[in-house]
């Protein structure tokens, strides 16, 4: 059988001119990739010809403007020099105790440069994961310097932009440590600076993501979603794919918190098609699984949990595996697959014990108790509680006292035969509520 010949360009132009209806009726175009590609290219040119821009006769000088070129070269050179000068100053500053930083800066007025602000911001980025109170203090210094940068030296827009960056970084550090009200004030200062600058839409979008994060914690979901939608649009138009993925994930988290699980799932499934690191993909699958669990689709939840566990295992993310397995165990419990749930949850309990994750040990113990109650094996609950309490004692844990009390209560209820699913649920809430929130622990 002979292959159908391709259309030549003239035939394609004639088809295009004949309109979309003729095109949609043409059987060859729909199935022929080379012809549809050529047609798309012809159509693009034809569409361009409809734009007034291509007919504009305004003359544009083809030669680069030497003044602009010289200005940009000079600015870049100065920035590099300032950044290099700030390196040893930053080392000297951070080598001192945190309490001495402000006084040290005060003693060195020559350190108050834009380069120092940039270096402090970069240092915040490193400190936020290891010592958040340091990060908060570093951003205070960055803001202090940025607020006083002389526009006469740096130019109005540069001074405003750096101020905006410093305030945004401060807002993030405050958010991270749980000081949400102060974080809101800081992010508003940041956005005000960017707005005054007028050439900082992209920077403002990054500040909007911080506002969204803060809003998700303050449960102001409407405001948070508004901010993150703005960021999505800006990142999309600036070709910032990674930032767009990040802001979409933030959006999905907000939707999850607002209990809009199906909307969150729509975003997560979109993101599944993106290029992601293995770590990000594992996290994405876990979040998808959580959404499915919330809407009661336990089969899909189990499938995604299993995929996440498999990937975490490959990556050696041990505590993450245990957490994911835990969620998976609870899905099995919800599905009524009690025997399998018990095996998984006990394995998780052992992994948490091994990793010294005390609150998690307490909480998973209540899940194990729940399975045992549902399967009529209430006698075993006492043993499970003994095991958990023994772990707490051996580890000398004092910060988990409320959790220990709750487990003791569970043991007593089981011992006297007054245990049922409601009692377990109540005790489980006590354990969950006794957990210190990570983001609050640095707040005071």
């Amino acid at each position: 059988m002979m292959a159908e010949p391709h259309y030549d360009e003239e035939a394609l132009i004639a088809l295009l001119e004949a309109g979309d209806e003729s095109l949609s009726r043409d059987p060859h175009i729909a199935t022929c990739t080379p012809c549809s590609k050529t047609l798309a290219s012809v159509r693009e040119i034809a569409d361009c010809l409809k734009s007034p821009d291509v007919w504009d006769t305004t003359e544009i000088s083809p030669d680069p403007n030497p003044n602009v070129l010289a200005f940009l070269d000079r600015t870049q050179t100065e920035m590099r020099a300032e950044d290099a000068a700030a390196e040893p100053w930053l080392r000297e500053l951070l080598a001192q105790p945190r309490e001495a930083w402000a006084a040290t800066l005060h003693a060195h007025p020559e350190w108050r440069t834009a380069g120092m602000v940039r270096k402090l911001i970069a240092a915040t980025d490193r400190a936020i994961e290891t010592m958040p109170p340091d990060a908060v203090e570093i951003t205070a210094l960055a803001v202090d310097i940025a607020e006083a940068l002389p526009p006469a030296r740096y130019g109005e827009s540069t001074a405003l932009r750096l101020r905006g960056h410093a305030w945004r970084e401060r807002a993030y550090a405050l958010y991270f440590t749980g000081a949400y009200n102060e974080a809101v004030t800081a992010v508003e200062r940041s956005r005000k600076s960017f707005a005054e600058c007028g050439y900082s839409e992209f920077d403002d979008a990054r500040a909007a993501v911080v506002l969204a994060l803060i809003g998700s914690c303050r449960e102001t979901y409407g405001e948070a979603l508004g901010a993150v939608h703005f960021a999505d649009d800006v990142f999309g138009s600036y070709g910032a794919r990674l930032k767009l993925v990040a802001s979409r994930r933030t959006e999905a988290i907000i939707l999850y918190l607002a209990r809009r699980f199906r909307d969150a799932l729509t975003i997560y499934h979109d993101l599944e098609r993106e290029r992601l690191s293995d770590e990000d993909r594992a996290a994405l699958w876990q979040n998808i699984a959580l959404c499915y669990r919330e809407i009661g689709d336990f089969e899909a939840a189990g499938r995604y949990f299993a995929q996440a566990i498999q990937l975490c295992t490959k990556l050696g993310m041990l505590t993450y595996i245990a957490k994911t397995r835990w969620h998976f165990g609870r899905v099995l419990l919800a599905q009524g697959r009690h025997v399998e749930a018990l095996v998984v949850l006990r394995q998780v309990r052992d992994e948490f014990t091994e990793a010294n994750m005390a609150n998690d040990v307490a909480e998973v113990t209540t899940d194990i108790a729940h399975v045992l109650v549902l399967t009529g094996r209430t006698g075993e609950v006492v043993d499970e509680c003994h095991r958990a309490l023994g772990y707490f004692t051996a580890a000398g844990l004092t910060t988990t006292e409320p959790a220990m009390s709750a487990i003791s209560l569970l043991r007593e209820a089981a011992a006297v035969g007054r245990i049922d699913a409601f009692v377990v649920a109540d005790i489980r809430s006590k354990v969950a509520n006794s957990r210190p929130q990570l983001s609050r622990i640095y707040a005071d």
């Binding site: 010809l49 007919w55 590099r80 050439y199 990040a246 609870r330």
Partner: protein, 196 residues
């Protein structure tokens, strides 16, 4: 099933905070050191100027100032920029709108200000680059061909109208439209091939 949403959100915060952090964090290796800003300026100046002057009707000398601001903001972004062309074009659109907003305080905005550029749509940089190239390609066309394309595509006139305007037959006008579109595409492809 026992409810522990709050707890789960904290546990998923590992996955929530990391991406969010990626969106806000400012890695030490900012683009400042990596990119020679002068080279970028030379590479993208015409495109950005075309956006400002042709799309936003900004005078060239003012547009050059805006370009300077756009490159300054690029230098100071403090984060990795994935797609320089898209970033610069989007920033140029924003700077141009800012320019007209500021001008609007002292003089009326252009009538079609609201229709100018949709920065939220993806691929705006590629479309602007494409328009710039088509603009360039038109300069190589014969005047008769240019007029044909102008009448038919820009003014939306039918082949019959074009025939009357150019004092020829309908059939020949149709042929002219087809040939001129084909010709400009040839020129367009040769320009883009050279660029590559």
């Amino acid at each position: 099933m026992l409810d522990q949403n709050t707890l789960e959100v904290i546990s998923t915060a590992n996955s929530a905070e990391e991406p969010a952090k990626a969106a806000v964090s400012t890695p030490a290796e900012a683009p400042v050191v990596e990119v020679d800003i002068g080279v970028l300026y030379v590479d993208y100046r015409m495109l950005l100027l075309s956006v400002a002057c042709r799309k936003f009707r900004i005078p060239e000398c003012e547009a050059e100032n805006l370009i300077q601001e756009v490159f300054l903001s690029y230098l100071q972004a403090g984060t990795k920029i994935e797609n320089a062309k898209a970033w610069l074009v989007a920033a140029m659109c924003n700077a141009s709108r800012h320019y007209w907003r500021a001008q609007g305080r002292t003089e009326p905005l252009p009538d079609d200000y609201g229709e100018r550029c949709d920065p939220s749509s993806n691929g705006v940089a590629d479309r602007e680059a494409q328009k710039l190239t088509v603009h360039q390609a038109l300069e190589y066309l014969q005047p008769r061909c240019r007029q044909t394309l102008y009448l038919h595509y820009f003014e939306g006139r039918s082949a019959g109208d074009v025939a009357r305007e150019m004092e020829t037959t309908n059939r020949y006008a149709e042929k002219l439209i087809h040939n001129c579109l084909k010709r400009i595409r040839e020129i367009y492809l040769s320009i883009t091939a050279v660029k590559r």
